[in-house]
């Protein structure tokens, strides 16, 4: 019962209704997208959200996690001579999180369609 209550969309496991419905189990799915390139990342996020919404899934929009910046500060000079100038390099990591309620297969479909280079996708599936 709790399972039935907890699955607003999905059918009970194993039970088959007259109407053909996808035999799917609804899980909580968290898609974590991370990249150093904001533009691509935003594009992928938008695509994912759009795809999920097309499939009438419950989506919690892209949550922007604060950007992590790695700094590397090195001397410019290869030798120790000269004015002590320093290079300040940084590496920015952007992270977006999308939460879904759907079955794993659907998620697979969604994620198979759209991917930009440089964007790392991580999917965490948990039971509802």
């Amino acid at each position: 019962m709790a399972a039935a209550a907890a699955t607003p969309y999905g059918v009970m496991k194993g039970a088959k209704l007259g109407i053909e419905e996808p035999r799917e189990q609804v899980n909580r799915i968290r898609i974590t997208l991370s990249s150093k390139d904001v533009k691509n990342l935003e594009k992928v996020c938008a695509d994912l959200v759009k795809g999920a919404k097309d499939k009438q899934l419950r989506v919690k929009g892209p949550v922007r996690i604060p950007t992590k910046v790695l700094h590397i500060t090195t001397r410019k000079s290869p030798c120790g001579e000269g004015t002590n100038t320093w290079d300040r390099f940084e590496f920015r990591i952007h992270k977006r999180v999308i939460d879904l309620y759907s079955s794993p297969e659907v998620v697979k479909q969604i994620t198979s369609i759209t991917i930009e280079p440089g964007v790392d996708v991580e999917v965490t599936i948990a039971d509802l």
Binding site: S34, I115, A126
Partner: protein, 529 residues
């Protein structure tokens, strides 16, 4: 107030990463939850490839299983757990998987469910068919395609070869006439092959080889090994001119002649007897043709070793006379062409006047004999040497006897030191003065330097002259004259400088030359520059 319930509990969930097929599972030794640089490469690969090349790779080790995400999840979870563990913790996590778990990760097929290293069924079947053990290793990777690649002699398919024209290399044995004995049939068990073969009659079916080849192979006469130019006899001309009937006699006479020259004993017999007597002997000896060398050897033996024979001088004289007479007769016969009655000639003249004549000739002959020997020798060399050409003749000369000089154009005596040095005139003592830094005999240097010296001297004079001018005219000058004077002085100075430079260069050149000489001859401690 308690925390709001998290959307996802990480400990009870399965985490997957989207990666390209070939890459290893995610790595991290990196504290951050996002992927490390290695898998960022993977993620780049994942994104750039088509959707089918990307797969979800489980990266966590929870007990949670997702039935929908993989085809056979249970095995995958277990297998995946192990791999993920290894991949996360090992230092080689970055490395591409060399076991098949990378392939397993990538394969979206049913083969993914197996433990690491399992080969597909058809591969295993093939390996087993080949007789190789089925231990999970893909032995098919070591198979070599059998090609006609040589190995010493490969069969070359010649499209233009016509085998019907080539005669067969077979011999057929007609066994129709073969009769095997009844009693031999019992023996057949023993060595049947040999018994059968011994009784067969060979029947030639086809010629094995070309007639030319057969001819060449039929090497019975070794005619090609014989020399083209056979040794000619010494008097082949005479022989050739002689009518043929006499040739045999000629040979007999020759032999006889040589025999007579060789032995005194033979000389005892009267010549006619000798001839006839020895004809038989000669016939026997004709087998081995006597060469001039043999003749000479016999003569040598006679002279050197047979002097102690029993013959007294008188007898030997007689013998000599006899031999000489016979010699004369024979040589006359030799060079007398067309002498049919050679045998009778000696019969005609057995008388005393013959002996007298012989004695006369004998002295002359004895005197000549030595020359004759030499002549004979010369003759031999003439005969044996075929062709002398310039190079061979020249090669017989050697520099030990010959000291040929090289023809050169006569040199002009320019390079010689001049006998008269200008410096000599000025030399007061019998000492060669060495001057300058390099200590060179200035007076005896080359012309160029001497000229420079002279110019220097002239310059010195000029400068001295100009000095005089200077001192004289200083009071009565105008501006232009002053200018002129100053210009002249400048000019002199310039000249002096130039001359000095030149001298310096010359000195340095000379010093260099001297240094070179000293480096070869003198001790190395001397530094001339």
């Amino acid at each position: 107030m308690g925390r709001k319930k998290k959307f996802i509990d990480k400990k009870n969930s399965a985490t997957f990463q989207l990666l390209a097929r070939d890459s290893a599972a995610s790595s991290s030794l990196f504290p951050f939850p996002f992927s490390s640089s290695s898998s960022s490469g993977a993620e780049a690969a994942a994104s750039s490839t088509s959707p089918s090349d990307r797969v979800f790779v489980r990266v966590d080790t929870n007990a949670f299983s997702v039935p929908g995400f993989f085809d056979d999840d249970d095995d995958a979870a277990e297998g995946r757990v192990v791999n993920a563990d290894e991949s996360r913790d090992s230092a080689f996590a970055d490395a591409p998987g060399d076991t098949s778990d990378a392939d397993d990760d990538g394969a979206a097929s049913s083969s993914r469910g197996r433990g690491g290293g399992a080969l597909p069924d058809h591969v295993r079947r093939e390996i087993l068919e080949l007789g190789l053990p089925d231990d999970g290793y893909n032995y098919l990777a070591h198979l070599r395609e059998i090609r006609n690649a040589g190995g010493g002699s490969a069969y070359y398919q010649n499209p233009r070869a016509r085998f019907d024209l080539v005669p067969l290399d077979v011999k057929a044995y007609d066994a129709s006439r073969l009769r095997i004995n009844e009693d031999a049939v019992e023996d057949l068990a023993g060595d049947s092959i040999y018994s059968v073969a011994s009784r067969t009659a060979s029947v030639k079916v086809q010629k094995v080889a070309d007639p030319d080849v057969a001819k060449l192979l039929d090497d019975s006469d070794l005619s090609r090994f014989g020399s083209d130019v056979e040794d000619l006899e010494e008097d082949f001309v005479v022989q050739a001119n002689r009518p043929e009937g006499e040739e045999e006699e000629e040979e007999a006479e020759e032999d006889e002649d040589e025999n007579i020259e060789a032995g005194c004993e033979r000389g005892r017999h009267p010549t006619e007897g000798a001839e006839h007597g020895e004809a038989e002997l000669e016939d026997q000896r004709k087998e081995r043709v006597r060469r001039l060398l043999d003749e000479q050897f016999d003569m040598l033996t006679l002279q050197e070793y047979d002097d102690d024979s029993d013959n007294g001088d008188a007898y030997s004289d007689d013998a000599d006379r006899e031999t000489l007479s016979s010699k004369i007769v024979d040589t006359l016969k030799k060079y007398g062409v067309g002498d049919q009655e050679s045998s009778t000639l000696s019969e005609l003249e057995p008388s005393a006047d013959v002996i007298r004549r012989c004695q006369e000739y004998a002295e002359g002959y004895l005197n000549e004999s030595q020359e004759d020997e030499e002549a004979v020798l010369v003759q031999e060399s003439d005969d044996e040497s075929e062709v002398w050409d310039c190079e061979t003749i020249v090669s017989t000369f050697s520099n030990l006897d010959n000291h040929p000089g090289q023809i050169q154009a006569p040199e002009n005596p320019k390079k010689l030191l001049p006998t008269l040095f200008p410096g000599e005139a000025t030399a007061k003592r019998d000492v060669i003065a060495l001057r300058g830094k390099e200590m060179l005999p200035v007076d005896y240097l080359h012309q160029k330097k001497r000229n420079v010296e002279s110019t220097k001297k002239s310059k010195a004079e000029v400068s001295s002259g100009s000095d005089k001018l200077k001192t004289r005219v200083r009071k009565e000058e105008s501006k232009e004259e002053k200018k002129e004077r100053k210009a002249a002085v400048k000019e002199e100075r310039r000249e002096a400088r130039r001359a000095k430079k030149e001298m310096k260069g010359l000195y340095r050149g000379e010093a260099q030359r001297a240094q070179m000489v000293a480096s070869v001859s003198g001790p190395s401690a001397i530094h001339l520059m």
